[in-house]
């Protein structure tokens, strides 16, 4: 029997949907077909009369129609003053619709950083939260103890946007009944067990501390340009974007968009440092060892890296 999917957008930009449309193998249509998914509702795609949508939604909430997957995109808007009235459908706060559907779903998937952790709207006028987290803190809309019908908590797929392969891979694993091993923030280790830095084509610059100080120089972006590649997990350089590249490969620092505190409160494009050494060091590294290693690495840097040409 087909598995049902209901996709709802809260306070977001729609970017996770458009990212999903980047998928090649499978593309979005093939994904639905090969997993035998019945897309009950997607706000960008569905041609459903308003009455029909209300009827489907009502049947799902009452348990009259089974819901396998609830996919939520965008921050859950609680403002103003906890009412949720900054984001409504025909007068009903969307947060209430999400909560009612989540109680009925076998799996609840937070697609993107906003739905996972609150993201862009978390500290603003709109009082945004993630489904089961607010930044680093468990809780969010559904509370830290929430479990969906399958027994899993909300599966968080952060990223701004989330990569299409992560969305399709997660849906595939769950449909095929594979165990998804999750990290501390309930994100699958397959994609969130690797640092963004891993696979970056600028790794050799990092190795020898050949650092970029101004845009376009082609060096490592970690020491001065605010790159979060060694600090956060994500598959950007493992599976690449649009099958082609990644931000760090072309010289855009990683902004740490998979991390619960994205967007960071301090300025982008610069590295907070202590005497020239980044305040935040690569995940799990001891400061003393790192300092010793970086000093030696810079001294060992080969000429061909120091005299590099940016366009090659």
């Amino acid at each position: 029997m087909s598995k049902t999917v209901y996709w709802i957008q809260c306070g977001g930009c729609g970017g996770d949907t458009w990212s999903l449309f980047n998928g090649e193998a499978p593309n979005f249509v093939d994904l639905l077909e090969s997993l035998d998914l019945d897309l009950l509702w997607h706000p960008t795609l569905s041609v459903v009369r308003q009455e029909e949508l209300q009827e489907v939604t009502r049947r799902l909430m009452e348990g009259d129609l089974h819901l396998d997957f609830l996919c939520v995109e965008g921050t859950v808007i609680h403002g103003p003053d906890g009412s949720g009235m900054y984001d409504v459908v025909l007068g009903t706060p969307k947060k209430e619709i999400v909560a009612a559907l989540a109680r009925r779903a076998d799996y609840v998937i937070a697609v993107g950083t906003c739905a996972s952790f609150g993201g862009v709207g978390a500290n603003g006028d709109i009082e945004g939260t993630g489904l089961q987290f607010l930044k680093w803190e468990p809780g969010g809309l559904l509370g830290k103890d929430f479990k969906s019908g399958s027994g899993l908590p909300v599966v968080n797929l952060p990223g701004c946007p989330c990569h299409s392969d992560v969305i399709t891979g997660t849906l595939s694993a769950l449909v095929y009944g594979r165990d998804l091993e999750l990290n501390n923030h309930n994100s699958p280790l397959d994609w969130y067990g690797v640092m963004v830095h891993q696979g970056c084509t600028r790794n050799e610059y990092h190795e020898y501390r050949v650092e970029e100080v101004k845009f376009g120089e082609r060096g490592c972006l970690f020491f001065y340009m605010g790159c979060h590649g060694p600090l956060v997990t994500g598959p950007c350089n493992k599976i690449l974007w649009n099958r082609r590249s990644s931000k760090t490969r072309v010289g855009v620092p990683c902004f740490g968009c998979t991390r619960p505190d994205f967007p960071q409160p301090y300025p982008f494009f610069e590295t907070r440092n202590i005497e020239g050494i980044p305040l935040e060091l690569p995940d799990g590294v001891s400061r003393a060892h790192y300092l010793a290693y970086k000093g030696m690495a810079a001294a060992a840097a080969p000429e061909r890296l120091i005299k590099r040409k940016p366009g090659i």
Partner: protein
């Protein structure tokens, strides 16, 4: 017989959430109000942040026009820092923005606009079966082809800027990327593949044959010239439009605004379509006359918007975004109403064509008025105008693969504005900063213009004006209103100052199920 009906449509297949409040009587829409139902507060999140942070935060305003937001943010900083963008930096910025237009124009037409014609109201129309074959959601062959083809063109942006959506590769002074000769060759192949698909499937003819169409009469003779023209997506759209009468539907005030599209490099073989420093000229068109664009003429009117704001009319440099608590019928929307010289103005591809003096679109407007057909045709045919220019700029970058960025001097105090043409039309960012922190950031998007509420003079916004007078076959299924609204390609996630008015307690329902609000 007077059959009066009030209907509220919660629109989907627009980016974001939009409610359209309609009053219908005797088969006509008598009154219309467009209301965004989500407030995102992004402008206020930028207050107190680092000067470059708009480059990361504002692309997140919109998942489908993210490159446009980035470009406006970068341009505002160019102005603020007096940064000089070298020619190759301009070209890369333009090419990636045009990529976004190419995917948007096609996705809008085949995923968002044309599926409305699968509505049961058209069941007896001669093309109905073909419409369903092409545009049924996730099943129609054009829908599937659109999903497969449009993602490929975005690979160009990934090669030149890292990823799409949501990269931040444009910075004051140019772009950070330094593409290689082989990167550019790959981009040209990708564009070539898209061009061939667009010519064979969307146009049904070559770009050069299409460019010969200079009037409505030309368009109709082109349609009958070859079977491939009538069968192409564009030919089929023309036939549907004539059958349904889209040309006489949905004209707004006839005022058109463009900020000017695509900054010309200092040295280029691309010939601009008008005066000024952009490929497509900016300007304001009204009553057959074009006035040069001057940004001092933009004011935002909040007289009908629910903002706690004592001053009712302000230039965006001084505008505030303070969600208000007042609750009156008069302040029926939280969208601000931008006005040009005090007048509502429509923006988007049709405005760009009109201000470029495009003979086909000037003739269509003269013959039929600026309605749904002209608006959608302008969007669907815009790639035909853009693709050759992109090819030329890619070639020019490859001729001299250096100078993508010029160092700038960061300032601690100042202001800047970045006014561009996004896929949906005029987009402006206005930024003010002191002591190295952002003190004001205002974003006025194309949909803020098109879906704006009434102003202090009671003048409707363009989308509202376009709805009034629309004939409706079935008041319970007012699909004609959806054609009119979607022809503006509204992007409500973008309309960052928009909030719903239904926060008022009288409209709140206790049911967890969506219900009709009170009329």
């Amino acid at each position: 017989m007077s059959a009066k009906k009030i209907q509220v449509i919660a629109m989907n297949r627009v980016e974001g959430d939009l409610e359209v409040h309609l009053e219908m009587e005797d088969g006509l829409i008598r009154e219309a109000r467009c209301v965004g139902t989500m407030f995102r507060g992004i402008e206020n999140l930028l207050l107190g942040r680092g000067l470059l942070d708009g480059l990361v935060i504002t692309p997140r305003i919109c998942g489908i026009c993210t490159t446009a937001q980035l470009k406006a943010a970068a341009k505002a900083l160019d102005v603020a820092f007096e940064a000089d963008v070298p020619d190759n930096g301009r070209r890369i910025r333009n090419i990636t923005l045009m990529v976004e237009m190419l995917q948007n124009d096609i996705r809008h037409a085949f995923l968002l606009f044309l599926p409305d014609f699968t509505n049961s109201i058209y069941r007896s129309f001669p093309f109905y079966e073909e419409i369903v074959n092409r545009y049924a959601p996730l099943k129609g062959r054009t829908v599937i082809e659109t999903i497969k083809e449009t993602k490929r063109i975005l690979e160009i942006t990934a090669i030149l800027g890292g990823q799409w959506p949501h990269s931040s590769f444009m910075v004051p002074g140019g772009v950070v990327s330094v593409p290689s000769i082989s990167d550019l060759a790959t981009c040209r192949y990708i564009l070539g593949t898209y061009r061939r698909w667009y010519e064979s499937r969307v146009l049904g003819c070559s770009l050069s044959r299409w460019s010969e169409i200079r009037s409505k009469a030309d368009l109709l003779s082109w349609l009958d010239e070859k079977p491939s023209h009538g069968k192409s997506e564009l030919g089929f759209f023309i036939r549907i439009s004539m059958s349904v009468g889209l040309q006489s539907l949905g004209a707004a005030h006839g005022n058109f605004l463009s900020f000017g599209a695509l900054d010309l490099p200092a040295a280029t073989d691309v010939a601009p379509l008008g005066q000024g420093e952009t490929f497509m000229p900016g300007g304001f068109y009204r009553n057959g006359r074009t006035l040069p664009f001057r940004q001092e003429n933009i004011l935002e009117d909040v007289s009908h918007a629910r903002f706690d704001d004592d001053t009712s009319v302000m230039h965006p440099f001084r505008g505030l975004t303070v969600p208000g608590t007042s609750d009156s019928e008069e302040k029926y929307s939280w969208a601000k109403a931008p006005r040009y010289k005090g007048l509502p103005a429509e923006t988007g591809p049709l405005a760009e064509m009109v201000l470029s003096n495009d003979p086909l679109f000037l003739d269509l407007i003269k013959e039929d008025g600026p309605g749904v057909f002209a608006r959608e045709l302008a969007r669907l045919s815009r790639p035909a105008l853009l693709i050759p220019v992109m090819e030329q700029w890619l070639k020019e970058v490859a001729d001299d693969c250096t100078n993508f960025f010029t160092t700038y001097r960061k300032r601690q105090e100042g202001k800047g504005s970045g006014l561009i043409e996004a896929p949906r039309g005029a987009l402006g960012h206005w930024l003010t900063f002191e002591k190295g922190k952002i003190t004001n950031y205002q974003v006025v998007t194309p949909t803020t213009w098109n879906a704006s509420p009434r102003d202090a003079d009671g003048e409707r916004g363009p989308m509202e004006e376009a709805l009034v007078g629309t004939p409706v076959r079935d008041p319970d299924n007012p699909v004609e209103a959806e054609h009119v609204v979607r022809s503006f390609d509204p992007c409500l996630v973008c309309t960052v100052h928009t909030v719903d008015l239904s926060g008022r307690s009288g409209r709140r329902t206790n049911s967890p199920v969506m219900v009709w609000p009170r009329p």
